[in-house]
Structure formats: structure tokens, C-alpha cells
């Protein structure tokens, strides 16, 4: 899970793994790994979800953390356009290191203060990702689907 701080990386994992959500923000330091089993079309997957400290001026992007990754989930917050700008940046850095599939997540869709991404900008980047998914860790919208879609990608491509 990559992205700026407070976009909801930890919340997405918590919702997916434990089915819980908390309004209270507790910033992540370093890494926490969660496990989750998933079955797609009779295929068993064991997901190891690396929830990583958000990158910002207090914490730099750590290439080491994505070394062994099979897929990357790049999370943005739909109320803060800056998180999308950061994501494009993180994307560029990650792509230098790996060609694993990347999913772009636009989180917090339950809040209605959306940034106005010009259609074209998103389209320009669309092909960079195997999927662009709008989620809410609060209501759970599309959280399951997010991880499911990664499983489906592997079923199709491996």
C-alpha cells in the first residue's frame, strides 16, 4: 500500500482484514504486514499486505519495501488533490524499480468534496494502472473488489 499520509491505506487494510473502521487517525510508522486468504476461480491466494508509512516531507519513499511485491496499491484521497500529485510521483519512482501490476485507488468517496481531476489527466494515466478503483474504507464501498481485482488479474495473467 503506497501513497501520501492519511489517504486511508491503513483503514483500507483494516476494513478488508478485520472489517472495522475508525475515524481516529493514527499515523503509521514503518511497516505493518497483514495476511489474508483469497480465492478467485478455485485459485487460492495468500495476500501479504504491506501497509507502509505514508510518504511526505517527514518520510521518504523506500524502494526496499516494494522489492518483493507482486502488486502495488497506490492510494489517493479524493478530497486532497495533492495526494494525486504525490501518487503520480510515487508511481514514477516505483516504475523505475518494478513492472508489477499497479492499482490506483481513489479513497474516501463517502465524502463529497471531490477534487476535480480533469478527465483527460486521469485518462492519460489510465493505461499505467491495471485498474482505477473508487473506494471508501468507511462504508466499505469497493474495498473487497479492490483486492478481488488483483486476484483476478493474477488468475488471468499467470
Amino acid at each position: 500500500m503506497l501513497g501520501s499520509s492519511a489517504v486511508g491505506k491503513t483503514s483500507l487494510v483494516r476494513h478488508y482484514v478485520d472489517g472495522i473502521f475508525s475515524e481516529k487517525y493514527l499515523t503509521t510508522l514503518g511497516v505493518k504486514i497483514d495476511k489474508k486468504q483469497l480465492t478467485v476461480k478455485d485459485k487460492q491466494f495468500q495476500f501479504l499486505l504491506w501497509d507502509i508509512e505514508g510518504t511526505d516531507q517527514y518520510a521518504a519513499f523506500q524502494p526496499r519495501y516494494i522489492r518483493g511485491a507482486s502488486a502495488l496499491i497506490l492510494v489517493t484521497d479524493c478530497t486532497r488533490i495533492q495526494t494525486y500529485i504525490d501518487a503520480v510521483d510515487i508511481f514514477k519512482q516505483a516504475r523505475q524499480l518494478t513492472d508489477v501490476p499497479i492499482v490506483l485507488v481513489i479513497n474516501k468517496t463517502d465524502l463529497n468534496k471531490h477534487w476535480q481531476l480533469e478527465e483527460q489527466t486521469l485518462l492519460d494515466h489510465q493505461h499505467d494502472f491495471i485498474e482505477v478503483i473508487y473506494t471508501s474504507a468507511k462504508t466499505g464501498t469497493s474495498v473487497e473488489q479492490l483486492f478481488q481485482s488483483i486476484g483476478e488479474y493474477f488468475v488471468k495473467h499467470l
Binding site: 492519511a6 505493518k32 526496499r64 519512482q93
Partner: protein
Amino acid sequence: MSNIYNESSNNSLEKMALNALDCTVLLRRQSEKFEIIHQIETWSNIVISKISAHKAVINDGCIFLNDFLIDAEMFWAKNQQGVLSSGFWTEQLANGKLMHFEALACVTEQQSLLIINNVQSVFAQQQKTLQIAREALISNEQLAQQVDNTHQYLNEIATNTDDMKKMLATIASTIEHATFGIMLLDKNLKPILQNPINYQLFQVNTKDQGQTETPLDVIFKLMKKQYPEHERIFEAASAWHGELYWLAAPYYVKWLKVSIYPIKGALGDVNHWVFYISDITRIKHLLEHNEQLAHYDSLTKLPNRQLFWNLLEQNCSQQPAFYLLYLDIDNFKFINESYGHAEGDELLITIAQRLQKMLKKEDIICRVGGDEFVILLRNIKEEDAKKHCLAIAQRILRKINEPYEVRHKDRIITTASIGIVHFPTDATDPDLLMKYSDLAAYNAKLTGKSNIKFYSQKLQQKTAQRIALENALREAIVNHEFSIVLQPMMDINTGKIIKAEALVRWLPPNAENNIMPNDFIPLAEDTGLIIPLGKLIFKQVCQCIQQLNQQGHPLTVSVNLSPKQIYDNSLSHFVYQMLNEYNIPPQQIEFEITESSLANDFDLVLATLLQLKKGGVNIAVDDFGTGYSSLAYLKRLPVDSLKIDRSFIKDIENDENDKAIVSAVIVMAHSLKLSVIAEGVENIAQLDFLSKMNCDIIQGYFFSKPLYLNNFISFIKKHNENLT
């Protein structure tokens, strides 16, 4: 020391120390197999599995640590003294409890160790600090975004609504419910509109009923005190952002974040100002919990503006003289936009490091703005102090000019401008020192990138003059105070006048003499006024051509294009619209672009030229020989002719070098099928030589100076009569 980790070591002091540190220590025996030197029974089973009394492997379930082993193995293999950290990670226990660890791979005395620390308390402490910092960061960001959105919206309304009443009504209803203060001012800084929250922000409940200070008074007072160097924003019509500390006696302490933007008309003239004011006291308060965060810039770790201000005041109250250097990165905005913010940040960090390395420890360096640094040079030897200071400033600029490697291994080049003031000679008070140093830096920037300027009173006068000239120029554009003169160009072989260069003259209403282009075009270029001015000139040129055509002289007229005009993407559209309006065939226009404008961004220039060229106009390269455009460049550009710079023609009868260059350029141009124009031809000897070298066209005083249209037409008539 050598065997403290040995199995045999039973030193109880060491054991106690290790226990106190709450760490498990493993000695690597072979790949991924360890000997237990020390362990903390309560938690070591979370990270390691024992395979015998003293042997262990890393616990399978501890995924992070297993991953770190890959790096650790590589590190141990190098067998060089040192430590590699894994960074923090978190394990969740079966009971839901969280534990935080950090692993260190070490090599000491030829031994490979893996130390696993339980970092519970450090983690909690850092998390608290970072939590505050991040919350503040996000609040700040959200605030900036809201202000930004609102400003975009207001700017659109203000520039696109012609009806003033309607505009004010729309703006008033828009800002009514904003969550921060907004003020709309006229161009003389008189408030027109303010929203309710703006009054609340500045409401002070003191017993002193005679409170007469308006919000605007307060802001100006604080700005003057806290950002004296930025007073010129209103003259220079630039945007400004800053944080003001407001001590409203006796109970109120507020931090205000203020953004000021001019709203400009089509000519870049200011019609309105908008102020956005937010109360960031809470954010500031959060940050102040942490001394380090409050006084040091989190990015570069240099003292921030607040601490700098304290330091400057301290230094001003003591006697020793010092120089204050105000350093401003020249193209930081461009770098941020074209390479990305992360790269911009990285650049700032590197710049800060380079600066720090060059200074002595008694010097002070701070980051006082986005891309602005201030340096106090103290303890400079009194003798030749200014010379020493200049030498240091030059060294700083050289260091900054060195290429930067940012993360994608791109090499970025940047430059900076430095303004310098001296305490106590130039000023003794912190406000003035800052104001003057900014003025000097501003002037350094105007003289071109990578410059140094010392403050002087003359400099201040010059700045005032420049601003006056800029205002006059803006009015001149509105009032159409320009006229066109034409300088004929003659075909050497036939003697016919086949072209003319259009040049501009500015005649202010009460002035006796024309102002020559050299005295205002560079200013127009710097301020962006060249765009409306260029359009006005082009329109007047079209009118001239129309008259020439009507009188039976369908000549080609060449018009100069400055770099900013080339980058203006409405250029081509405007040109063809004018040609259409005045019914002029595109072949009758030739654009002259200077060689130096090619150097900036070749691909962009190429795209613009191709677009222009598609419609049928001609293109010439002006001042050829003075820049560094290579043949390779020329081949790729859609160019029709070359103008050899006058500096090569001046001594051409005598100077062997010039002769050689000019004849080589002519041969080369002809091989590329370009026609060659020599400008600045003043005598027959020059003409003879150029004619011998097969130059195609000449232009210069020998033949005719630039003429107003009527004189120009008479000149052609006479010239043609003489020819036949």
C-alpha cells in the same frame, strides 16, 4: 571488546546493559542460522525460533524480518564495519496487542550480528510527534487548496464579467459562506467587499472601545513589521503568501495565514486585489509542541523564518558588522512544475547542504521562504570586507550552478541570484536590512540569471524608475503611442528593393524624442507586456503593408518576434486572423527570430515555427553568429533566410576573421538553400565585399535608415526611377 558477544562471555554488567536496552542479539554462524548471544524471554519468540538451546532461525511468520535478511546477508557479505537498519516494523500478537521493533545488521570485529530492538517507547514518542506534524501538514494543505479553488473561481468571475455591479454581486454571494476571511480591494487597495468571517477574525474583545483598526490596517501593520522585504509586491503587482503573528493586546495571540493576489486585466494591469486570511493559530500551536519542528524547516533542517528573525534581531543589537545575503533560486517554480515536487524538494535539500558546507560555523544560514535563503556572514575581515564578501557570494553561485542529480538520475541545472546588504552601513534595523537585500536580489535577477548585487541608494532609485517606466509602457499600449518605421532591404544583384524590416518607435505624448526599442523592448519582454505590445505592432505593420499594396509596392515586410512571443500559443492564430482582416498574402510577412531564442527550448520553438510556417509566412534567423545555434539546428528548422549580425559587417573590410566567418556563413547558408541578408551595411567597401561573396540582400545606413511609411514610399519611388 573483541569477545563480548562470545558464548563464554558471562559479564553480568553487559547482560544488564543488554536487558536494559530490551534487545535480542544474534551472531550469524551461516546463512540464516544464528547463535543466540542474548535474548529477551518475554518477546524473542515473536521474531526467532529456537532450534537448540543456543541456536535459532528467524521465525517464519515474521515476514518483515525475513525480508530484511536479504539486505542483511548482502551487507554482512561485504564484511565492512557498520550498521544497517531495517526501520521500524509492527507485529500484531494473537491477543491483538501491537509490538514495535527495529532490526540492525552490524559488522564489528569481523563478526556479523543481528540485533533486534524492542522500540516500544521510541516508537510511541515519534508517533506522537509525527502525528502532530502530519495533522498540521494536512490542515495546511486543505487550507491552501480551499484558498486556491476560491481564488481561481473569483479570478474567473472578476476577469470575465464586464458589468461591475453584477461582478460584485456574484463575488459577494460566493464569499459569504467561505470558512476563511476574504477581502476584495480596488487597485488603490481600498476595500470593496469583505465577508463576515473576515470581521470575526479581527474582532478583539478588549475594554478599549475605541478600536479603530480595520482588518486591512492590521494586515499592513504586521506585514510591514514582519515581511518588510515584501512591501514592493503592490508596486510590482505580484502574488504573496505569508504567515503573520498578531499580538492583539493584551489577550490575543493569533497566527494568520495570508495570501494576496492581484487580479489583472488583459494588459497585465491590476484591476483588483484579493486577500485571503485564515486563522492558523491551532496548527501553529500544534507544531510548537515540538521545538525542533517550530524553529527548523522540516525539509532542509535549516533554521526557519521565525528563528532567523530572532537571530537577525540579536545580531543587529550587537556591534560586530555583518553582511546579509539574500539568495533566491532563479527558476525553482519551473523545476517544480516540470520535474515534480519531490524533485524540487530534493533540490532544495541539496542546495541547503551545499550552502552549509561552504560556510563557517559562525555564519548563519536560514530558509526564509519557498526558494529563498538568507545567509549572515559574520567575522569578515574588516580590510577589503566587501571584496571578501563578493568572493564568497561568487563561490556560492558557482556551487549552486553545479549540476544536481535527482532521483531519476536526471541532471538538473539551476542558478540563483544574490542581493547583499551591510550592517551597519546600509541599515541598522532588521526590517530595512531585509527590505534592501530583497531589493538588491530583485535587481540581480533583472540583470539576468546568476547575478550578485550589493544594495545602494542608486539601486533603489533605479528600481523606482523601472517601475515608472513599466507603468508608462502599459499606458502607452492602451493609448497606442507607437509607430512603425521601415528600413528597406535591397537585392544585391538586381538593385531592387524587395523587402523591408519593420521597427517600432515609441513617442510618449509630452516627449520630444522617440524612445528607441532597446530602451523598452527588454522591459516589455521581462514583464510580459511584449505580448499585447507585439500584437499591437503586428497590427500596425499589417496596416502599413495594406497601404504599400494599395500603392503598388507589394513588398515582404519582416517583423521581429521575441522569445516570449514565440512561447505564446495564441500567436499563430492572431497572425493569420490579422492577415485575413487586412487581406495580406502570408508570403508578404517574414518573422525574424533571434538566434538566442532557439537555445531555450528547441522543440517548443520548432513546434511554433512549423505551425506559423504551415500558413505560408517566411522565417528568418536574426543576429546570426552571435549565439550558438549550430548547423544541425538550422537544418531542422523551417527557415528561409539568415541575417548576419551587424557586428561581423562593421570591420569586414579589414578584419580577416570577420571576412572568413561571413564568407563561410554565406556558403553554408546557400548549401541549405537559405538566402543571406547582411545588416548594418554602411559603406561601399562593405557592399563590394559582400557582393563578391555572393551575399543576397543588404540592409543598412549606406542605403537607407528606417523611414516612416510616407517617406518610405517616396524613397521606393525615387529608387525605382533611378533604376530604370
